[in-house]
Symmetry: C2
Subunit: 102 residues, 2 copies
Amino acid sequence: MRPYKHPAASELSLERVLYALSDSIRLDIVRHLARVEAATCGELDGGRPKSTVSHHFKVLREAGLVLTENTGTIHMNKLRRADIESRFPGLLTAILAQHASA
Amino acid sequence: MRPYKHPAASELSLERVLYALSDSIRLDIVRHLARVEAATCGELDGGRPKSTVSHHFKVLREAGLVLTENTGTIHMNKLRRADIESRFPGLLTAILAQHASA
């Protein structure tokens, strides 16, 4: 399986990061990843259909928020916290500090 | 002309605010409003077509970021900074602190 493409930290766009976080499923995934070292897609999908979740992971990867690595047959996901912090200081911390919307 | 509807501060959604700020035109409008007390749509449209800009103002109003008031025949826009701050402490400051994307 081909490795996923991920943008370099220097290529990240504020608008794209905000868009990626403007969806409650994607925000949940990022909140979960902020609490753990790494997680499989299955641990993060909340029982949602794979096709739906795959799309959300793609948006998160393309925004530079999530790194997905193929480890054998499973995909491990990590939050690119250091990259986001270096490009947008304080941004992710401020967003993750907010309570989930009602 | 009917007054515009604006959500109460307690009704604001994090995802909706992030979505509203995920577009470079809307982000520019909010950056501009953060520097001034109030501005007309014409002062904020950057020469863009009125139909385009009207849509962006609607998204910003519905997210609770912008208050539009009819003052005679002109519309004055203000950033709802205190409302956003009360609902999402530190969020807007962190976003506005970022450099505009390349």
